[in-house]
C-alpha cells in the first residue's frame, strides 16, 4: 500500500463488505510512438455503501481511473474487482455520469426518452418505468422538461438530466465525474444535498470526482487525494464529520475548516509536483 497516512485503514478483512477493490492499477495510454503514463500505481478499496470523493490536479487521471472502473478502458496492469468479480467490461448495476455530460445525452431523444432508455433495456414494465422516470426528473427539478430535447436546455439542466438518468437506473454503484462543474452555486448546493439524500435512500456506493475541495469534504465520508501525473495516491483522508450535513451548519464547523485546509494543502502540494516518495527520502 502506498498510502503515507498511518491512520487510514485498508478494510481487507471483510471481503463481503467491499464493494470495489482497486489493486495495483496502472494505466499507460499507448499511441503511435507516444505513450502517456496516466496512472502509475493506485490501490484502494471502497466499502459497500460508502460515499468516496476523489480529488486531484487537472490531468491527474481521475477520468482515466473512473473509466477503468466503469470497464470502458483496459488497464495496463493490476485489477479492479467489483462485488468480488473482476471488471472486464461495463458492469451491470453501475451508473455513470460523464464529465462531458452534454455529449452523453442522446440528442435525438427527448429528456424523458434519455432517462427511460436504460430502463427499457432492462425490461422494466412500462408503468413502473414512467413512474421512476417522473420521480427522477422531479428529484433534479426537471419535472416539466421531459418533452424537451437536451440541446434545448442549459448546461446545468443537461447535467441534471444525466444525473436523473443515473438515479432512475437504480444502480448499486454510482460513478460521477465532476457532475456539478457547469451549474451555478445555488443549484450546486441543491444537487450536493440531492446526492447525499439519494445516497442515503438508495444505500448506493458512490464515487464522486470533483475539482472543488469544499465539495469533496462536504459530500464525502472519505477523500482520496491524487498526485499529479503519473498518478499515485497522495493521501486517503477520512472525513469524520457527522452524517447529518447541511450547507450552512456543516460548512461552518471547525472540523470542516480543518479538513478543508488539509485537503487544500495536499492539492497545492500535488500541483507543485509533490509525490509520496519524496517524503520517504529526506523527510524521514
Amino acid at each position: 500500500m502506498a498510502t503515507t497516512e498511518p491512520t487510514t485503514t485498508a478494510p481487507e478483512a471483510a471481503a463481503t463488505d467491499v464493494a470495489l477493490d482497486v489493486r495495483g492499477l496502472q494505466k499507460t495510454y499507448g499511441g503511435q510512438g507516444r505513450s502517456v503514463e496516466a496512472i502509475r500505481e493506485l490501490s484502494f478499496s471502497v466499502p459497500r455503501g460508502q460515499l468516496t470523493c476523489i480529488v486531484g490536479p487537472s490531468g491527474a487521471g481521475k477520468t482515466t481511473l473512473l473509466r477503468c472502473i466503469a470497464g470502458l478502458l483496459d488497464v495496463t496492469a493490476g485489477e479492479i474487482v467489483l462485488d468480488g468479480e473482476r471488471v472486464t467490461g461495463p458492469p451491470r448495476g453501475m451508473a455513470v455520469v460523464f464529465q462531458e455530460y452534454g455529449r452523453s445525452l442522446f440528442p435525438w431523444m427527448t429528456v424523458q426518452q434519455n432517462v427511460e432508455r436504460p430502463l427499457i433495456e432492462r425490461r422494466v414494465p412500462k408503468a413502473e418505468r414512467r413512474r421512476v422516470v417522473a420521480d427522477a426528473l422531479a428529484a433534479v427539478g426537471l419535472g416539466d422538461s421531459g418533452e424537451a430535447h437536451p440541446w434545448q436546455l442549459s448546461g446545468g439542466m443537461q447535467q441534471r438530466v444525466a444525473i436523473a438518468r443515473a438515479v432512475a437506473y437504480e444502480p448499486t454503484v454510482l460513478i460521477m465525474d465532476e457532475p456539478f462543474a457547469a451549474v451555478d452555486a445555488q443549484t450546486r448546493a441543491d444537487l450536493e444535498d440531492l446526492v447525499r439524500d439519494l445516497w442515503h435512500r438508495l444505500g448506493v456506493t458512490v464515487l464522486f470526482v470533483t475539482h472543488d475541495i469544499d465539495e469533496s469534504v462536504y459530500l464525502g465520508q472519505r477523500v482520496l487525494v491524487l498526485s499529479n501525473r503519473p498518478t499515485v495516491l497522495l493521501e486517503d483522508v477520512t472525513v469524520d464529520l457527522p452524517d447529518e450535513r447541511d450547507q450552512l451548519g456543516t460548512r461552518g464547523t471547525h472540523r470542516f475548516a480543518e479538513l478543508r485546509g488539509h485537503v487544500y494543502e495536499l492539492i497545492q502540494r500535488a500541483k507543485a509536483g509533490h509525490r509520496p516518495e519524496d517524503d520517504a527520502g529526506p523527510a524521514s
Binding site: 462531458e100 455529449r103 433495456e121 434545448q152 438518468r165
Partner: protein, 260 residues
C-alpha cells in the same frame, strides 16, 4: 403570417419565374429549328406526354430509378455500418472501395448490359443502384465513425442491447451524414436513369428524349428535358420533406451549438 408565407414563396419561385419569362420572351420570335419558341414547346407538351407516354415511358423510368435508389440505400447502409464500426473491416475493405468508387458508373452500363441484357429493366436498375451506392456507402461509413464516443460509452454503460445500439445509437447518430449521401445519390440516380436508357433501350423517359432528338422532333425533345427537370425537382422536394422531419433534432442541435 400570410405575408411571411407569400414572401417565402416569392423568394423560392421568384428566380424560376423570371427565367421562364425570359425564355418565353427571348424565344418568342425565334425561327431557329433547334430553339423553338417556348410557346410551341408548351403547346406540344400534352400531345407528347399525356397520350400514353406518361404511363409507358415515364412511369417505368421512375420506378426503375426508385428501385435502384432504394436498393443502393439498403445496401449502402447495410455495408457501411459494419465497415464504419470495425477498424479491421475498414482496413480490409477501404482500398477496394476506393478503387470501385473511382470508376464512373456510366462506363459500367455496357458491361452490365452484357450480363443483364440490353432491353430489360434489370440492367438499368443495377446501373442506377451501383452509381447510387458509393455516396450512400461512403457517407454511412463516415457517419458511423463520427458518432460521439461519449455516446458510445454511455450506451455501453447502460447496457443497450445490440439491436438498440444499432437503431438508437449507430443509425440515429449517423443519420445526418447518411442523408447527405442519400441526397447526392438521388441526383446521380436521375442522371443514371437517363444514361442507362441510352444504350439499346426503346422505352423510357431518357430513351424518348433521345428518339425525339434523332428524329428531329425538337419541340418534343425540349418537353422531355423540361419534364426531366421537373421530375428531379419533385424528387428532391420529397427528399427534403422527409429529411426535414427525420432530422429536426439535428437542425436544433446545430443551431443550439452555433448560438453558444
Amino acid at each position: 403570417m400570410t405575408a411571411r408565407i407569400l414572401r417565402r414563396v416569392g423568394y423560392t419561385a421568384g428566380l424560376p419565374a423570371v427565367l421562364v419569362a425570359l425564355w418565353w420572351v427571348a424565344s418568342a420570335g425565334s425561327d431557329s429549328f433547334f430553339w423553338p419558341p417556348l410557346r410551341t414547346i408548351v403547346a406540344t407538351f400534352p400531345d407528347t406526354w399525356l397520350t400514353g407516354r406518361l404511363g409507358e415511358d415515364v412511369l417505368p423510368s421512375v420506378l426503375r430509378l426508385l428501385a435502384g435508389y432504394l436498393l443502393a440505400l439498403v445496401l449502402g447502409v447495410a455495408l457501411g455500418v459494419p465497415i464504419g464500426l470495425h477498424r479491421r473491416v475498414r482496413a480490409f475493405a477501404e482500398p477496394t472501395l476506393e478503387f470501385f468508387r473511382a470508376i464512373p458508373p456510366p462506363v459500367l452500363v455496357p458491361v452490365i448490359a452484357l450480363f443483364a441484357g440490353y432491353t430489360g429493366s434489370a440492367s438499368k436498375v443495377v446501373t442506377i443502384a451501383i452509381g447510387c451506392l458509393w455516396p450512400v456507402l461512403l457517407n454511412t461509413v463516415e457517419g458511423v465513425r463520427a458518432v460521439d464516443e461519449v455516446l458510445v460509452d454511455t450506451a455501453r454503460c447502460y447496457h443497450l442491447r445490440r439491436r438498440s445500439q444499432l437503431v438508437h445509437l449507430t443509425l440515429r447518430g449517423s443519420s445526418p451524414q447518411i442523408a447527405a449521401g442519400a441526397r447526392q445519390a438521388l441526383s446521380i440516380g436521375v442522371i443514371l436513369m437517363v444514361i442507362s436508357e441510352l444504350f439499346g433501350a426503346d422505352r423510357g423517359l431518357g430513351a424518348s428524349i433521345v428518339q425525339f432528338q434523332r428524329s428531329f422532333a425538337i419541340p418534343q425533345m425540349w418537353t422531355g428535358i423540361i419534364l426531366l427537370g421537373v421530375l428531379g425537382f419533385l424528387l428532391s422536394l420529397i427528399f427534403r420533406l422527409v429529411e426535414h422531419r427525420a432530422l429536426a433534432w439535428y437542425r436544433g442541435l446545430r443551431d443550439a451549438n452555433r448560438g453558444a
